[in-house]
């Protein structure tokens, strides 16, 4: 197991280098000059342009800029944004908030989603199954920003149960409503995935054997069937966690959360390559670790999948 993990960690190095180069090349290949909109409808003063380009290595060819960037990265220096702020500091603050938000969403979709899926799966075709199917269909078909805005207007502005927008240093409660909104879509998928897999596995031979052995129904479902049925769900949730970290842009905007998604969006708009590459590189690393975690979990859920 340890050997496996070490091997996987070593494999990450070329992946990180390759992906950062791709991101770097793509970000700096974007059309438009970062200075074009900076001075409004007039061109920037030449002296400012010169200083700005020199400060941000904009005059070097792309490979040299990339090597310089990697060199800084190796020293833990993610560079500075066009505003002169340290990217790493910004990212640390923002990741703290985003991770909190993603954890709420993930817990919500994992617990409620799997529970709803199990209930629907064991009572296939009954009322509860139809209820889960219809309600998840509704959630899937309504865009997140509609759900988010509605929830904000009803629970924030009208009822006052939750803060309308999150304060600058949000606690768990402040992020609860946005987290639920963010998790609602994946919850629907998780519930449907669990339901289908569980219903299918309940017809498997080993389940009949377990029932014939005289095991109780909760044990047959909870231990034997569910464990097998969760493998695709865990794969989905693992990949989804990475997605929640970077892709919460809409939810972040609605609730004014100072998270990573909005940071990337804002930085792309202002052509702030250093900030984009830094933030996305962090995302790549998170994805890689989540993948590793999911692969290890496979072994726990199904001992037949061995990593040695």
């Amino acid at each position: 197991m340890t050997k496996y993990i070490v091997r996987r960690l070593l494999q990450m190095i070329p992946v990180i280098i390759g992906s950062t180069f791709l991101i770097f090349a793509m970000v700096f290949a974007l059309p438009g000059n970062p200075l074009a909109g900076k001075c409004g409808e007039r061109p920037c003063p030449p002296a400012f342009v010169e200083k700005f380009r020199a400060d941000h290595n904009l005059d070097d060819p792309l490979p040299i800029r990339y090597v310089k960037y990697l060199g800084d990265l190796a020293h833990g220096n993610f560079g500075t944004t066009f505003q002169g702020l340290n990217v790493l500091d910004e990212l640390q603050k923002r990741y703290l908030i985003t991770v909190k938000l993603a954890v709420i969403a993930l817990l919500f979709e994992a617990i409620i989603g799997v529970l709803a899926g199990v209930l629907a799966g064991i009572r296939k075709g009954k009322f509860i199954d139809n209820l889960v199917l219809v309600s998840t269909l509704v959630v899937i078909s309504i865009p997140t920003f509609v759900i988010g805005s509605l929830a904000q207007t009803i629970f924030g502005v009208k009822l006052g149960w939750f803060p309308v927008t999150t304060p600058s240093k949000p606690g768990w409660y402040d992020l609860l409503l946005p987290g639920l909104v963010l998790g609602s879509l994946s919850l629907a998928y998780a519930a449907r995935l669990t339901r289908t897999n569980l219903a299918e596995n309940l017809r498997a031979d080993y389940v009949r054997t377990a029932v014939a052995k005289g095991l109780s129904r909760p044990r047959v479902i909870g231990v034997h069937t569910l464990r097998n049925s969760l493998i695709p769900v865990v794969t989905f949730l693992g990949a989804d966690f990475g997605g929640l970290l970077g892709g919460a842009i809409i939810t972040e905007r609605i609730f004014n959360i100072r998270g990573v998604g909005g940071y990337i969006f804002q930085s792309i708009n202002s052509r702030d390559g250093t900030a984009v590459v830094g933030a996305v590189t962090m995302l790549v690393i998170v994805y890689l670790f989540m993948n590793l975690l999911v692969d290890i979990l496979y072994g726990v859920l199904d001992p037949r999948i061995s990593h040695d």
Binding site: C44, F145, G156, G160, S168, N256
Partner: protein
């Protein structure tokens, strides 16, 4: 040229904001059921007239807090409260009033003597002296410092000597030889503006390169603010994070993610003190979120309401009696391409015909939710020297006359195109304008989107933009001159269409030399009249600011700059 960056920053979500509004449209009287004291830390003064703290919606500053480096509203709004300048703009009509200056005198519009009030202090306790101005302006203009607002100081004698020498280098993209300033190889000839002289602690003189009749008005811009001695110790590094000014408030803390906290400057003795003790700028990525917070009384002030609230005047029921509007010093225009890029629009009659074919009033009413005022000239009505109807019949919708003029001009061969940046809120009105042109003139017209503001501006600056394109202007200082000289002067920085008229340039020069303001204004108006003959651009409309506030504050006033006069706001008792 503040404000444009902000437009870009919030532009991306406006479509989304519109949609969300449609789906949450049940908020007929949205504020009635919420508790009013969510963020109210009740004021300790008995009358509620002074003291207490308020919060205002802000956005992320794009530059360090150095006056000469701040050219957009996000940072500018915060900095404005911290700084004091020689003159202060009246919040009703933008008339300049003396602030740090005791007097500013001249006999020839070229040599000015500035006398300072004694005893005015920076928030670090040091006194504001003449050297603080001279050193600050020298630093701001110095080529090696590369500031964004350096062009404001071009008017002072000796500014050209502050530029670094040009060095030939190969352009990385095109491989052509281009000239770039290089301060290491060819340092500037001088590090001081020869036109500035300190006479004594409270007096200095300014000599301008040529006659300037509106210098007094210009001196109110924040780039002209004095800088304390501590600024020069580390070239503004510490200052950029925490500015020190002589204004009514001082910056207690700033965090890019959360915002700025301003508290009263204990040393302030000027005439423009604020009423409240503490102002918090909360940073929002989206004005839609800020608007909801104002509805729930969690944020007190919002200077520009989101598009979703303006649709169908929804804000009037959301914030009953808690909104205000005012014309601001901005104008939207459609500029004809530079002859270097596209010669097909050269005929002034064709230009006038297109202008007359656009039904401004209907577009404002149906698409822009009455948030603009149709333009009748090239100068905003908020500035001194404004004269109505300078554009005359050419800015009035008249399809019959437009068609007549169009035929006289020989028509247009091909499709008229109107460029806009797709990340702003420009799609609907440019398309409507094009339809109006199509209907009136019977010529094809296409609204042409470009992905974002920076791509759009690059094409314009490089003179590669074919067809007409949208332009906007927000005044730097409240003067008629600012709407003419920088945009239509030959070779001027923002002359995107490369307009050039000898008569216009001469009139601008004469106006700058005029002995009294009335005389100067008249000359500027004559220059504007010349634009109505050559028609370098189509005036579309003037901007209007619509602000909203929570139940916790009163006495909210909008300035001609579209900002909220924070000195006047009070906490409700």
């Amino acid at each position: 040229m503040r404000g444009t960056t902000r437009t870009v920053a919030i532009a991306g979500v406006s479509a989304l904001a519109l949609l969300t509004a449609a789906c949450s449209g049940d908020s007929g009287n949205g504020t009635s059921s919420t508790s009013g004291n969510a963020s109210a830390s009740s004021s300790d003064s008995a009358t509620g007239a002074a003291g207490g703290e308020i919060s205002i919606s802000g956005c992320t500053p794009q530059n360090p807090f150095i006056p000469a480096m701040t050219n957009e509203t996000c940072g500018g709004d915060m900095l404005d409260e911290v700084l004091a300048r020689l003159v202060h703009y009246n919040s009703d009509d933008a008339k300049p009033e003396l602030d740090l200056a005791e007097s500013i005198e001249t006999t020839d519009n070229q040599n000015f003597t500035v006398k300072l009030k004694q005893g005015r202090k920076f928030s670090d306790g040091t006194e504001v002296k003449a050297a603080n101005f001279v050193k600050a302006w020298n630093w701001n203009r110095a080529g090696a410092n590369g500031t964004l607002n350096s062009y404001f100081f071009d008017v002072i004698d000796g500014a050209a000597d502050m530029d670094c020498g040009l060095v030939k280098v190969k352009d990385k993209d095109t491989g052509e030889d281009v000239e770039q300033p290089d301060c290491e190889k060819k340092p500037a000839a001088s590090e001081e503006l020869s036109g500035l002289k300190v006479v004594d602690d409270y007096t200095f003189t300014i000599k301008t390169t040529e006659k300037v009749s509106n210098l007094l008005v210009r001196l109110g811009y924040s780039a002209f603010a004095p800088l304390p001695d501590s600024f020069f110790a580390d070239n503004g590094k510490a200052y950029g994070a925490k500015p020190v000014g002589a204004g009514p408030y001082m910056m207690e803390s700033y965090d890019p993610a959360t915002g700025a906290v301003l508290v009263k400057n204990p040393d302030y003795t000027g005439d423009f003190a604020g009423k409240v003790d503490k102002i918090t700028f909360k940073i929002y990525q989206d004005t839609e979120a800020a608007y909801k917070d104002v509805m729930a009384n969690q944020t007190d002030l919002l200077a520009a309401l989101p598009a979703s609230a303006l649709q169908g005047e929804k804000y009037k029921s959301d914030l009953p009696d808690r909104t205000a509007e005012k014309a601001t010093g901005t104008i939207a225009t459609i500029t004809f391409p530079s002859p270097k890029a596209d010669k097909t629009y050269a005929n002034p009659d064709l230009r006038k015909a297109i202008s007359m074919a656009i039904d401004r009033d209907t577009i404002i009413k149906t698409i822009l939710a009455n948030t603009r005022q149709a333009a009748t000239g090239w100068v905003s009505p908020v500035v001194d020297g404004y004269k109505a109807d300078q554009c005359g019949e050419y800015c009035k919708y008249d399809p019959a006359k437009a068609k007549e003029l169009f035929t006289k001009a020989g028509g247009y061969n091909g499709t008229i195109s109107l460029g806009y940046n797709a990340d702003g809120d420009h799609k609907s009105w440019t398309e409507a304008a094009c339809n109006s042109i199509k209907d009136a003139l019977g010529v094809e017209c296409k609204a042409q989107p470009y992905p974002d503001f920076s791509t759009f501006r690059t094409l314009i600056t490089d003179r590669k933009m074919k067809g007409m394109f949208r332009t906007g202007w927000q005044m730097d200082y409240p003067s008629i001159e600012n709407f003419l000289a920088p945009i239509y002067g030959t070779g001027a920085g923002s002359n995107d269409g490369d307009y050039s008229s000898e008569k216009f340039d001469t009139l601008i020069k004469e106006a700058a030399a005029a002995a009294d303001p009335a005389m100067a204004n008249q000359k500027y108006q004559e220059a504007e009249a010349q634009l109505a003959i050559d028609f370098p651009s189509i005036p579309m409309w003037y901007g209007k600011a619509i602000a909203g506030w929570s139940e916790n504050v009163e006495n909210v006033k909008i300035t001609p700059f579209g900002t909220i006069d924070l000195a006047a706001v009070t906490k409700k008792a």
